[in-house]
Symmetry: D2
Subunit: 361 residues, 4 copies
Amino acid sequence: MSGVWGKNIQYSIFGESHGKAIGINMSGLPSGIPLDLEFIKSEMARRAPGKDELSTPRAEKDEFEIISGYFNGYTTGTPLCALIWNSNKLSKDYDKLKTVMRPGHADYTGYLKYSGFNDYRGGGHFSGRLTAPLVFAGAIAKQFLNEKGIIIGSHICQIGTIKDTLFDAVNLCSEQLNELHKSNFPVIAAEKAAAMKELILNAKEDRDSIGGVVEAAIINLPPKLGSPFFDSIESQLAHLLFSIPGIKGVEFGAGFEISKMRGSEANDQLYIDKGIVKTYTNNSGGILGGITNGMPVIFRAAFKPTSSIGKPQNTVDIEANDNVEIQVTGRHDPCIVQRALPVVEAAAAMAIFDIMKGQIQ
Amino acid sequence: MSGVWGKNIQYSIFGESHGKAIGINMSGLPSGIPLDLEFIKSEMARRAPGKDELSTPRAEKDEFEIISGYFNGYTTGTPLCALIWNSNKLSKDYDKLKTVMRPGHADYTGYLKYSGFNDYRGGGHFSGRLTAPLVFAGAIAKQFLNEKGIIIGSHICQIGTIKDTLFDAVNLCSEQLNELHKSNFPVIAAEKAAAMKELILNAKEDRDSIGGVVEAAIINLPPKLGSPFFDSIESQLAHLLFSIPGIKGVEFGAGFEISKMRGSEANDQLYIDKGIVKTYTNNSGGILGGITNGMPVIFRAAFKPTSSIGKPQNTVDIEANDNVEIQVTGRHDPCIVQRALPVVEAAAAMAIFDIMKGQIQ
Amino acid sequence: MSGVWGKNIQYSIFGESHGKAIGINMSGLPSGIPLDLEFIKSEMARRAPGKDELSTPRAEKDEFEIISGYFNGYTTGTPLCALIWNSNKLSKDYDKLKTVMRPGHADYTGYLKYSGFNDYRGGGHFSGRLTAPLVFAGAIAKQFLNEKGIIIGSHICQIGTIKDTLFDAVNLCSEQLNELHKSNFPVIAAEKAAAMKELILNAKEDRDSIGGVVEAAIINLPPKLGSPFFDSIESQLAHLLFSIPGIKGVEFGAGFEISKMRGSEANDQLYIDKGIVKTYTNNSGGILGGITNGMPVIFRAAFKPTSSIGKPQNTVDIEANDNVEIQVTGRHDPCIVQRALPVVEAAAAMAIFDIMKGQIQ
Amino acid sequence: MSGVWGKNIQYSIFGESHGKAIGINMSGLPSGIPLDLEFIKSEMARRAPGKDELSTPRAEKDEFEIISGYFNGYTTGTPLCALIWNSNKLSKDYDKLKTVMRPGHADYTGYLKYSGFNDYRGGGHFSGRLTAPLVFAGAIAKQFLNEKGIIIGSHICQIGTIKDTLFDAVNLCSEQLNELHKSNFPVIAAEKAAAMKELILNAKEDRDSIGGVVEAAIINLPPKLGSPFFDSIESQLAHLLFSIPGIKGVEFGAGFEISKMRGSEANDQLYIDKGIVKTYTNNSGGILGGITNGMPVIFRAAFKPTSSIGKPQNTVDIEANDNVEIQVTGRHDPCIVQRALPVVEAAAAMAIFDIMKGQIQ
């Protein structure tokens, strides 16, 4: 029942796609952080729609307004609340959808849970637009982590069946992550980008959509973060990641592939390199017993294809209590994966920020 | 930092593999549940070691002793604490491992996090043995859910590269789940069992181990459970699942496969069947917007191969600050997947029990 | 570290006295509550400053703007965030106080905790102005409770040494509470009001302030609310009450007086009246073992005199690291007790709303 | 619904007065604390019954058994669970009370809340005996705090109407607290002890009981602990204190007396003494804006007289649904205040331990 997450930094999300504004309140921030507003804007721009033919033409600038907790250029340490006003609302588009449940969306479950009182316009609180406040919070978290040398990065590791090269989980360096960060369509194997884009545009032409996978990494994390059992690093990262609309799978290190291995292959053998304990491989994704070991934390998140598609689909009219056909018009992304990268990174940054605030001060 | 999980039922786990006892305290249980002690015992027997040649010869009966919260055959509603005494302890086996970090285990991260004060014998608090209290709590949760008609079941869906048939996510019935529950080595495609067992025994012969995947299902769940964002059903199930030692991946519904689909294939189209809204397919795994839709909830968890193997491995002696070779002797499971089924089911039961206690009373 | 409270309804407060706005985000609200905006306004008007000579001349209308979670006149069930814009800000008044710590205020502790980065203007986040969002949230909670017949009321039970008659804890009725609710200066013994007001005005004339006590009651509460130990009704009410700036004592039922009694006097003896179990007396304040028994819940909260006074006081200049004299100018309340009644009621309503949402649905 | 408290150290309490054992699980303890078992025993002995004619003759040694989280003399950092076995149980005493609700006890509210399934023997989970695990946890917390120079002490500041001298809130020193700690009946004004004891023995002779007040202090606390609003030091201390059976009032600093003061008297004026900011008075009890200021934290808790008295009282038989008379036989304390001192100190230590673990590491 909760729109609040975090033990040490408490993130409270609110808002609906076509309401006045969406936003987030962050309680527990350290004081004295000189916010880099330009960095926050650039992170939000990475997620913002309407940039190119690969994404929805809904053009939202996603400008944020900090309401509290920020004074003379620094965080005060008291709750920081930020709003993102909804400017480009075309609510009429959605009026006819009030009782017709879009397949793949939360229309039906939202209708049930809230007894029909939920704001159905554009998915309301379930909208992917609610990831904008996550990116805002994540940008602040990233700034905190960056100052400690911790870098979070990601790439499109799969669109449909086309796969990018995976991260080198042992030798991953900040240069590569920074390079990927600059790209609008970040892939490791540059030659894969064109085929991936073609797949997206093909789907678009067909009034359809396509899914994909994001691979992310956190490097330079101190060891000792996390706990056995209920607050394992995997538990906390997965908790936040599965809050992001559209994610249906999360795996760490070798992930599902590790299930095919023998122990002698899967175990990351250790050695000492100039006084630092390292592992030859990194199948564990930098986490053992729920705790970081100092190697890169690597994970992947599987995104389903955008639920809004122009093709006719079977569904129900919940008030008429009857089967109907639906064709979702309006402005949609043929693929959300490339826009989801900053969201995945933000969720990871939010989680690590919370954990570090509790463990290392 | 937390050994406590749950909002409405609070599970507090404690204990070390070779300490006096392991156990769990459950706060927030409903009063008046007539505990089915035989059922709890049978669930714990499913997980218990030493049953056959596929698992470790450490023979623990895993008998539990309820300390509180249980009176005249019923739960009192006040905290129920149960202990499982450690009877078959061979601590000497582990003395030499005090400073030599076993690859794949949490020895190194535990050493760091607890500054060397952790109980290193048999992995201490990180031991897979700590899943016994989870199965205890899960059995109570299951009893509660069963009374509402909700059934949780699972099968071995993969050992190494050998894959079982997946659940029919649309037409899954209690008969199938009950049938699987009776088996020591539950698979859907019976002919796969022999090959899987062979793979395990081969690994055993080679003093090695092998990983696998568990697929689980929850049927007859009421719709409306869960929330958008931070308390999505996926978030809460994944949080608990990733607390189980050895799990490196979790996926719901079509999971990672959904990322290869187009929206027109991935979207579960809806229809009304005798007044009930259903979907033709169930790629979403019964969850949309973080909320159950009444269809079966399906998920898979990837287990890494057992970390303890008899083969020589490279590692470090943390006190000698040097590279060493290790050969882990003692009693190990060549594969934990078949023993993990009740643990995965227990985690799911614990999570759903907590969620239902908060939403439906 | 937390600006968030509540298990079932999560209240997240934010804002500073002289920032852009103050506000609150409420997560976990039931859907379908037709908000009575006029009632919310009237509750906020009870707290609002500038009404008469007994309170500060800072005239804030305390108009709220609902940002989310409210659609077509009903709560949606998704987080409801409301802002109260700060309109009447005279920040210059406070510039000279930046480093001079006002006695009785949180200036010094805030400076330390936030390393000088806190918004010092008007007390910033520590300001009594932050009680406005509490009254907003409390009004929604009250509406929910009122629909179940539960009424929360209060009176000024003490100003300085002048004491009002206490509630009749056994026979307290809604008529009396409703009558008190209408008054700007609610007392039970009407004749005490004049003397109390005189005390306040005398303090004002002397550029001083005066303290007092609020007595509050919650009637028609169902029995069974609350828990033994950590979630006792007293624990939860006191937790929220002690969040209100200026409260230094909280007592339930006979409170500190019960410590002077013998058991034979203090014990509330029971009897059955038309099938309902009642008590002859109500020294326990309607709570036994942390759980409501169906009798009125009665409590009192002691407020210190307003910290801002015009008289010269000794203090320190934290940057000059020296002793200085201060005379707090600006707009102050000579007494906050009469304005605190709706805040105390709001805190009680917020707590009971949270508890009931968890227990009774 | 919660038997768990704490954000950074999570305390999970369990057990019933006449069940197998009572206990507590502590999650989040630092590793490497060499537990002073003798100190824990001595703290538990302070609370233990049966020591003299002032308390109940139920002789329980309150010996604890640590089950987990303790290895080779040090805390491991993983959950520490301790049991206190119930040895001296006379359950038959209580059988006749199964349906007759003892006035002043939680019999009726417990019966309602748990639908009659609660363990009614000796109050079950509501028993004052459950404060033994609190003292155990408090002793560990105290050891942690003592190492940082922080000392918690208390005295009987009132029995019935006889009042002890209050602490000097400004000049309170460790010598005085240590002196009080040694006494079985700690008062500041030694001459008051005899009259207080006489009052208790008089009540005992009359088969009655008497209430009282405990005053406690925490000295050498670092400033900056706590937060504005929902995690104020007062909120957190009061939350735990009101969990202790029998407490009906809690006040900080001047407490209810501050409500009679003018601001010019109540405000604690500041000055710099050798570079340290101090206050001339300490009416705030060392807490401003919910945050410690470095002065002693002072608070008082009002205890009701023991509910169990031998005098005849009116009550109800809940199953017979009729009015009856009850005379509570068995072993009772005529006054619990002198045994409550270590419990009050333990609650304070537990709360401060939790807060410091989160803020200072």
